[in-house]
Amino acid sequence: MFLFTYLADATSNMDLGALGKAIGSGLAAIGAGLAAIGAGLGIGNIGSSALEAMARQPAEAKEIQMNMIIVAALVEGTALFAIVICFLVL
């Protein structure tokens, strides 16, 4: 309830263009948050399988670690596509 009155207060004197820009900025922030969720899920999956593989065969730990970092960089690249778009809107 307080959130609505605060938002109404803040936007009551804006014209349509500024209001559009404000909504765009808000949605960009939500988009960046969703991108962070995607990156977190992806890298969490990679980390979990890598750790499980290292636990099963400790002799291969170094090889597995290098591959884990490479795949993590690729997944992070995908999440950062979304961040770039959000930056453009912001």
Partner: protein, 352 residues
């Protein structure tokens, strides 16, 4: 114990005393961050008291409306002044770029070849890279069979690690042709990333965080991959070895393959650009937190300062790791694309 009681008492007094917030100027965090990450016509170092200490850089322009060739120092355009019909536009389509103002007041953009902050940073970083590599190479020429130590030994480990585990491993036979380009790409990206993290001159200009630099790197990979493509590779793009209905009425697979030719270097470009720019933006935001909380009194400001410094140190170390990883991933993926382009036709074996 006595010491701790004194500290807690002082903090409580500060919270009470700092309860009337000071009047401070509005901190526009977005403008600060964008001005540090972006390009500019002068290299701004710091503000000592009320004077800005900045290195003015040469501005080189060719006017499209007949004004001719101009070259002058960017200090003539400080604070929105106009020099010879040129000024830095403050807002609009060409904001923060040099525009030419004609008699009617309309702005147009001349051909801009200025040595901007990012261009000067690229030159400095290339000089550093060339000096290091030439020193190492000359050391080996003078004593080819000696065991290196110090800088030469460290560079040997670095170079041979990339050379063996990435280039030789991925490309296989015939890797010698591509090793120079891939090693250059790796060290160029690595040196530029690391110099972007160092906050004082000559570091501090995020060159790889500028999409123009990464697009050129991606174009270089695109040309190397396209030129080293065998006939089989290109035939596979237009007429791939897939069932006929995916090709004939609507060429679904050829369109996907051709889209892939452009989307793979595009992904290389965006990955490097976004990683470096986001990292720099985060470090700058954490540092700006100190200035944003100044208005809220000394107790909160002290707490946020300690937190902000700790987070900024952590983010800087993470940035160092990302600098190496992004250079490694760029080189690895370029090597993979080159290998895919060089593949020869596999003979089909009839199985009875």
């Amino acid at each position: 114990m006595n010491q701790k009681i004194k500290i807690i008492a002082c903090m409580l007094l500060l919270i009470i005393a700092g309860n009337n917030p000071m009047q401070s100027q509005e901190v526009n965090a977005k403008k600060i961050i964008l001005s540090h990450i972006g390009d500019s016509y002068q290299w701004h170092i710091t503000k000592w008291g009320h004077t800005d200490i900045a290195i003015p850089l040469p501005v080189i322009l060719i006017s499209k409306t007949g004004g001719g060739f101009s070259i002058f120092m960017s200090s003539k355009l400080d604070e929105g002044e106009t020099y010879k019909n040129y000024k830095i536009a403050s807002d609009g389509k060409y904001s923060d770029k040099i525009v030419e103002v004609n008699a009617a007041g309309a702005e147009s953009r001349p051909l801009d070849f200025s040595l901007t902050k990012n261009a000067l940073a690229l030159l400095i970083n290339c000089t550093i890279l060339v000096l290091i590599i030439m020193y190492v190479a000359r050391w080996y020429k003078k004593q080819p069979l000696a065991a290196p130590k110090g800088l030469v030994g460290a560079m040997e480990i670095f170079i041979m690690d990339i050379h063996d585990s990435v280039i030789k491993n991925v490309i296989g036979k015939g890797y010698e042709k591509y090793a120079p380009y891939l090693l250059t790409a790796f060290f160029f990206i690595f040196v530029n990333n690391v110099m972007g993290i160092i906050p004082i001159f000559p570091g501090g200009a995020s060159t790889t965080g500028n999409i123009a630099v990464t697009v050129v790197l991606a174009l270089c990979t695109f040309f190397v991959v396209s030129i080293s493509g065998t006939k089989h590779y290109w035939i596979d793009k237009i007429w791939p070895d897939v069932p006929i209905w995916l090709k004939i009425p609507i060429p679904i697979f050829p369109i996907t393959e051709i889209f892939g030719i452009f989307s793979k270097p595009f992904a290389l470009m965006i990955r490097l650009f976004a990683n470096v720019m986001a990292g720099h933006a985060i470090i700058l935001t954490l540092t700006c937190l100190i200035f944003i909380t100044v208005a809220k009194g000394p107790a909160i400001n002290t707490g946020m300062t300690i937190l902000s410094v700790a987070m900024a140190i952590f983010m800087s170390l993470l940035e160092l790791l990302i600098a190496y990883i992004q250079a490694y991933v760029f080189t690895l993926l370029s090597a993979v694309f080159i290998t895919l382009a060089r593949e020869e036709k596999v003979k089909k074996v009839e199985v009875n």
